[in-house]
Amino acid sequence: MSRVSVPCHVKGTVALQVGDVRTSQGRPGVLVIDVTFPSVAPFELQEIMFKNYYTAFLSIRVRQHTSTHTPAKWVTCLRDYCLMPDPHSEEGAQEYVSLFKHQMLCDMARVLELRLILRQPSPLWLSFTVEELQIYQQGPKSPSMTFPKWLSHPVSCEQPAPLIEGLPDPSRVSSEVQQMWALTEMIRASHTSTRIGRFDVDGCYDLNLLSYT
């Protein structure tokens, strides 16, 4: 299946914290990243890909276009997806992650905006975020996707042909018929460009082609 990257604008991370960020001693445990798509019409999201950097849990909310009259609503499409099994240890801390639309809680059609909510309960890490964020939508179907019937529904090998008594051996018949087919194909493929130079059609000449000289 092909996919096409959607150009997006990733806003700066916003830390959610009680109290003043600059003066408080404790580090924030929640970050919010907004992703907008300024140059794209509402699209169906296929895949979200990013590289984790010490984020333990990820929630995603999506704003979808419903109709021109009602304002678009925010819907949670991913809730507390675990990126690090143990927030205090390294595992999963710097892995590449792919999230597909079938992993989401809601339909991912007509996406206007995304909001990523990152949580890291462990105080061990100085900072956390996600990097190299990329959003994909489904690409155009390649033309070769339509397979002929004989290829998409092959005769299953397990199905033994119900042989009637006295029917000739199919494999030997098949071998002969295939040879005949090959010979015919060979002749069909061979052709000569040389013409013998006949100007008549079914034994009759076109008067205009005959010269009197």
């Binding site: 002929p148 004989w150 290829l151 092959p154 005769v155 090998c157 199905q159 042909a161 119900p162 042989l163 009637i164 006295g166 029917l167 000739p168 051996d169 199919p170 494999s171 030997r172 018949v173 098949s174 002969e176 018929v177 295939q178 040879q179 005949m180 087919w181 010979l183 015919t184 194909e185 060979m186 002749i187 069909r188 061979s190 052709h191 000569t192 460009s193 040389t194 013409r195 013998i196 130079g197 006949r198």
Partner: protein, 293 residues
């Protein structure tokens, strides 16, 4: 004196003379070194002739090489101008038959699947047939070409009704000059059709009811229809897809299914003769042959 005789012998080109000479005691063998024997063979053309013969044997890989070589040299004799000029000038008709025979022999040297060898032989046969005409008219006329096609088909033991449509399609008119390419295509088609008919014959034997010695028309027709389907359905498709599709259609499973279906259908059973089967099969092949234009 004897030295002179030896010298003379070495220059003689005609093989007959040298055979007569060889009975003489070669006194001056010491003088005429081993090299001279080699020279002699080369000068009289035996070296070249044997080399050509060996190449032909290698090319054709005959099952009976001695018979093959005997036939080969017999043809060489017919071809050499000395032989043709010395005897009574044979009748025009006889000469024509000889030429046809020689051309046929060349054509049969290599199977058509050995394409290079086959093409070579076709060229030689073409020369054989065309060189013999009057000096004014080099090239091959349609009459000879058609005659040759008929001979090939007749010798190929294919029933006349089976090959007649092909001959009609690729024959040239009597007065027409046949270019080499057309000649080659015609010969190739003819030989391939003969093989096709032989295959169809083998297929008929497979389909034959051993007790009745005839095939069931329903089964025979089903097999032919399957082949026709594989040949036709994919006319428009690109080559690799076409081949794959044909493979799928002509696999044992789908053929078994087709034959099975034919028997299950509630049509009365009637025999299909071998001739009819061959004729119908050949029609499928001939439909794909491009006519001479």
């Amino acid at each position: 004196m004897k030295m002179a005789a030896v010298e003379k012998r070495r220059q003689v080109v005609a093989p007959a003379a040298s055979f007569a000479d060889s009975s003489r005691p070669a006194v001056s063998r010491a003088a005429a070194t081993a090299e001279s024997e080699e020279d002699f063979l080369r000068q009289v053309g035996v070296t070249e002739m044997l080399r050509a013969a060996l190449l032909k044997v290698l090319e054709a890989r005959p099952e009976e090489p001695i018979a093959f070589l005997a036939h080969y040299f017999e043809n060489m004799g017919l071809r050499s101008p000395a032989n043709g000029g010395a005897g009574e000038p044979p009748g025009q008709l006889l000469l024509q038959q000889q030429r046809l025979g020689r051309a046929l022999w060349h054509l049969r040297l290599a199977h058509h699947s050995q394409r290079t060898a086959f093409n070579n032989n076709v060229s030689v046969a073409y020369e054989c047939l065309s060189a013999s005409g009057r000096k004014k008219k080099p090239g091959l006329d349609g009459r000879t070409y058609s005659e040759l096609l008929k001979r090939i088909c007749r010798d190929g033991e294919a029933p006349e009704e089976v090959v007649a449509p092909l001959l009609h399609k690729i024959q040239c008119r009597d007065h027409e000059a046949v270019p080499l390419d057309v000649f080659r295509a015609g010969m190739l088609t003819c030989f391939v059709l003969l093989e096709f008919v032989a295959r169809a014959g083998a297929l008929y034997q497979l389909l034959e009811d051993p007790a009745l010695a005839v095939a069931d028309r329903r089964v025979g027709q089903a097999v032919l229809d399957t082949l026709e389907g594989a040949l036709q359905a994919s006319d428009a498709a690109a080559v690799p897809a076409r081949f794959l599709e044909a493979g799928s259609r002509l696999g044992p499973d789908s053929l078994a299914l087709a034959m099975d279906r034919a028997l299950v259908a509630r049509r009365p059973s009637s025999p299909m003769t071998r001739e009819e089967f061959l004729e119908k099969a050949a029609a499928l092949f001939i439909a794909k042959v491009k006519p001479v234009a």
